[in-house]
Amino acid sequence: MDVLKTTLNNGLKVLLKEIHTTPIISHWLWVRAGSRDEGPGLSGVSHWVEHMQFKGTPLFPAGRLDKDISRDGGFWNAMTYIDWTAYFETMPADKVDLAIRLEADRLVNSAFDPQEVESERTVIISERQGNENNPMFLLDEDVQKAAFEQHAYQHEVIGRMADLETISRDDLYNHYKRFYVPNNAVLAMAGDFDSQLMLDRLRQLYETIPAGQAPQRPDAVEPVPVAERRVITRGPGETVFVKAAYRSLPATHPDFSALTVADSLLAGPSNLNMFSGGISNKTSRLYRRLVDGDLAVGVSGGLQATIDPFLYDITMVVHPERKPEEAITALDEELARLQESPPKPEELTRSVKQAQALFAYGSESITNQAFWLGFAEIFDSYAWFENYLERLAAVTPQDVQRVAQTYLHAQRRVLGIYQPDGLLESSGA
C-alpha cells in the first residue's frame, strides 16, 4: 500500500499508511526537538518537556489522559532522543480518535503547572540517579562529553544534574512554545483506516492550530576531530568496559550505507527497529577476535541514524582476566585489517540478507511501521527507509574499505575506559 504524504496548511507534515491485517492503528506525533536543540544551562529540557506533556491540559487534565487511553486498551508512551521527541499511541482501530484528539490538544495546550513542574523535577532527578547506578551510563556520559567541543550532542538526553536542579518552569514552557508548533512536527499513522477519511479527520483537529515561527536552532559548528582523546571513568564494580566512539556520519551522507555494512561486518548488524529484536553477532569479525579470543566477554557496535554527525561506537566488556589495553590492541588490528583489504563479496551479501531479515521482523508490528514513517522523516524522508535495502545492496567491498579508512581511524575517536575503583564491599545493614 502506498503511503499518503501531505502537508497541512499550518505546515504539519502527515504520513498515512494503510495496513488492514489486524484492527489496530498506531498514531505518532514527532516534534523536531531533542538534546541537540538545548543551549547552556538547559540540558535535559527537551526530555523534561516530554514528561510535562503527561501532566495535563484544560481538556485532558492530569490523571485523565492516561486513564482514557488505558481504558480503551491503548499502548502508549513517549521518548526523547538527541534529535527528536516522539509520542505514540497504538489503539484498537475503533478507538484511535481519542489518541488524535489528545495529541492535537497537547501539542499546544499543556498547562505546565508550577507545582507539577516541581514534582516532576524530583522524578527526573530520580531517573538520572537510576541511570547513574549503571556503569555504562557513566562511561557514555564521559565519552559523549569528550567527543564534542561545541555541539549539544555533548550531553546525555536526560541532562546534567546541575541543570536539572535549576531549570525553571519558564525555561520549560518557553522550550515548549518554541518547538511545539505544527510546522516543526510530523504526524505518522499506520494501521486499519481509510487514508482519505483519516486525513479529513486530521485536518479538522490539527488545521485549527496556527503555524508558529520556525524554531531557531543552535548553529555551533563542531570541528572535525584531529587527535584521539582518552577518558577514564572510575566507579564501583569489578567489570571493565571499553568504548571506542568514532565521529560518525549524518544519516543522509552518501557513505552512511557503506558504514552500515562496515558495522555489520565488524560487530553484527545494528537493529534500527524500535519494536523488534535484533540478531546475534557471534560470527562478526570483532566477536571472533575478541570474544572467541578470550579478550572480552561481549562486544557490540552502535550506528544510529541522526541529523548531524553523532558517534559510531564499539563497546567491549573486557574479560575478567585480561587488560583493557589488550582488547584495544585487538580492536585496532581488526580495524586495520578492514582498512588494508576489502571484505569478500560474500560478506556483503550476508550483510544485506541480515538487513532484509531485520526488515521482515520489523514489518510484523504496526507500531514499528508507524515508527519508521515518522522517524525517517525527521532526519531525511520516508524514501530513506523505502530505499534502504537497495542502497545497502549497492555497497561494494571497496566502499567498505574506504569508509573504514576514512572514518574508523584513531584520530576520529574518543576511547573511554570504565575502570572499577575497587570500592566493592558487599555488606548487609
Binding site: 491485517t21 489486524t22 484492527p23 481504558r71 486498551g73 480518535d97 537510576g130 547506578n133 569489578e238 575503583d421
Partner: protein, 432 residues
C-alpha cells in the same frame, strides 16, 4: 474509521485456527498461520529448569541451556552461528525455574534451519571444554554486574526473604561460587537426565501453513526418546511469613536505592488468580502505574518508577511492589507504599477503577497478539496451563465476570500487610 470489524474474533487465535498435534513421543506441536508474515517464529519449552539444580551447583540448568549452542555433534560453535547469522535468523535456549525454553525467528524459508538447530541443541550438544570456559567467564561477568545492580540485588534479597525454605528463593543464575563449581561432567549429566521429549511443547507461527509446520517438526523431533528423563520434582508448600521482614543490602558508590515489597501471590491456576490480576492492575499498573504510581511518582515526585507485578506461573510466584528512589527517601517511599497496600487490602476498589482495568485488559489483548511471537506466547500459555484453545476468545467474559469483592478477597488473602517482605538495595547508609 476502521475498515474491518473492530476486535473481530477471527483475528484472535482460537480452536478453529490453532493446530494442535501430539507426536508419538509426547511432544505437543502448536501451529498457526499468519499469511501476512514473511517470517516465522519458533518457540517452546521442556521441563528442564532450575528446580533440578543441586544446591551447591545453582545455575546449572541455566549453564546447560546456554551451552547447548556451543557445539553439537554436527557443527562447531562458529558453524552454528554462521548458518544462522548468514540468513539473518536468531535462535537460542534459556532456562527458568520450571522449564528450559527455546525461541527464534527467521525468514519463512529458513524454518528448516531453526528446526535443525533446535534438534541438534536438544539431542546432540557436545559441551566442548574451551566453549564451556568462555561461557563460564561470561556468566561470572553477568553475576559481577548483578552484584552492582541495585534493582537485581533488591529482587534477589526479596526472593530470599519470601521463599526461605522454598526453591523459588534460589537464584536461577546461581552465585559465583556455584558457577565456578560446575564441571563439564555436570553439564553432560544434567542434559542426559533432564532433556527429553516428555513435557515438551513447540509452537510455530508465521508465513507457513500449519500442516507444513507440524510435518517439519515431526520430521525433526518425533524419533527423539530419552528413557532416563527425570520427572520434575514436586514443589514443596510455601510457608507464609510470620511477620513483616526487612533487609537492606548495601552497594557502595550507588546514587539510587531500589526497593521491593511483597510476598507470594496466587499460582496461575488458582481460582482467584484473575481477581488478583485485575487487582494488581489497579494497585500498580493501570494508566501511569496504578495507585502506587500515582502516590509515589505522580503525587510525591519521589521515584521515576513505581509499579506492582504479579508473577502467576506454575507455583506461588511473587506479588510485589517495586520502586527506585533517592536513598534519603527510602523510608518515606516504603510508608507510602504500605499506606496504599493497607487501602488496597482493606477497602473495596471502586467501580470505576475495576471497570477501567477490565476495559484495558479486553481492549489491549489484540495488541498483544499482533506479532508472530505474541501469538506463539499465547498458544504456549494456553498449553502450559491447559486453558483451552478458545481461551483468548472467551477472555473478555472471564475478565468482565470479576467483582470488586473478589478483588478485595484476593488482595486481603495474599497481601497481608503484617506479613510482607521489604528488600532494599542501595548505597550504604550515612550514620549521623
Amino acid at each position: 474509521m476502521s475498515t474491518t470489524a473492530a476486535l473481530s474474533l477471527s483475528s484472535i487465535p482460537g480452536a478453529d485456527d490453532i493446530t494442535r498435534v501430539v507426536l508419538q513421543n509426547g511432544i505437543v506441536v502448536l501451529a498457526r498461520e499468519n499469511s501476512n508474515a514473511l517470517s516465522v517464529t519458533l518457540r517452546g519449552y521442556l521441563p528442564a529448569g532450575s528446580l533440578l539444580d543441586p544446591d551447591d551447583k545453582l545455575g546449572l540448568a541455566d549453564f546447560v541451556a546456554d551451552a547447548l549452542m556451543r557445539g553439537t555433534a554436527k557443527r562447531e560453535f562458529q558453524a552454528i552461528y554462521d548458518a544462522m547469522e548468514s540468513v539473518g535468523a536468531s535462535f537460542g535456549f534459556g532456562s527458568g525455574t520450571h522449564t528450559a525454553s527455546f525461541g527464534g525467528k527467521s525468514l519463512t524459508e529458513d524454518l528448516p534451519l531453526l528446526l535443525d538447530l533446535l534438534n541438534e541443541g536438544l539431542r546432540a550438544p557436545q559441551f566442548p571444554a574451551d566453549q564451556v570456559e568462555k561461557l563460564r567467564a561470561q556468566l561470572l561477568t553477568g553475576l559481577a554486574l548483578r552484584a552492582q545492580d541495585t534493582h537485581d540485588m533488591a529482587s534477589l534479597v526479596f526472593e530470599e526473604l519470601v521463599y526461605r525454605q522454598h526453591p523459588y528463593g534460589r537464584p536461577e543464575s546461581g552465585h559465583p561460587e556455584t558457577i565456578g563449581a560446575i564441571t563439564v561432567d555436570d553439564l553432560v549429566a544434567f542434559h542426559r537426565l533432564a532433556y527429553g521429549p516428555r513435557g515438551m511443547v513447540v509452537a510455530v507461527v508465521g508465513g507457513i501453513p500449519p500442516e507444513n509446520a507440524v510435518e517439519l517438526v515431526r520430521a525433526s523431533l518425533e524419533d527423539w526418546t530419552n528413557a532416563e528423563q527425570t520427572p520434575v520434582p514436586e514443589l514443596p508448600d510455601w510457608e507464609e511469613l510470620p511477620e513483616r521482614i526487612y533487609k537492606r543490602h548495601a552497594i557502595p558508590g550507588k546514587s539510587q536505592s531500589d526497593l521491593v515489597i511483597g510476598t507470594a501471590g496466587p499460582p496461575r491456576l488458582a481460582p482467584d488468580f484473575m481477581a488478583a490480576n485485575l487487582g494488581n492492575s489497579i494497585l500498580g499498573r493501570f494508566g501511569l502505574m496504578g495507585r502506587v504510581g500515582d502516590a509515589v511518582r505522580e503525587k510525591a515526585g519521589m521515584a521515576y518508577y513505581a509499579y506492582s507485578s504479579l508473577s502467576g506461573g506454575t507455583g506461588p510466584g511473587a506479588w510485589d511492589v517495586a520502586a527506585g528512589v533517592n536513598p534519603a527517601n527510602e523510608t518515606k517511599a516504603i510508608d507510602l507504599i504500605f499506606k496504599e497496600l493497607e487501602r488496597f487490602t482493606g477497602e473495596l476498589v471502586n467501580e470505576e477503577e475495576l471497570s477501567d482495568s477490565q476495559s484495558n485488559y479486553v481492549g489491549s489483548m489484540p495488541l498483544s497478539l499482533e506479532s508472530n511471537s505474541g501469538v506463539a506466547d499465547a498458544m504456549l500459555n494456553i498449553e502450559r496451563y491447559q486453558l483451552g484453545l478458545d481461551y483468548y476468545r472467551l477472555y473478555p467474559q472471564l475478565i468482565q465476570s470479576v467483582t470488586r469483592e473478589q478483588v478485595r478477597e484476593a488482595a486481603a488473602k495474599y497481601l497481608q500487610v503484617g506479613k510482607l517482605a521489604v528488600a532494599v538495595a542501595g548505597p550504604p547508609r550515612i550514620e549521623v
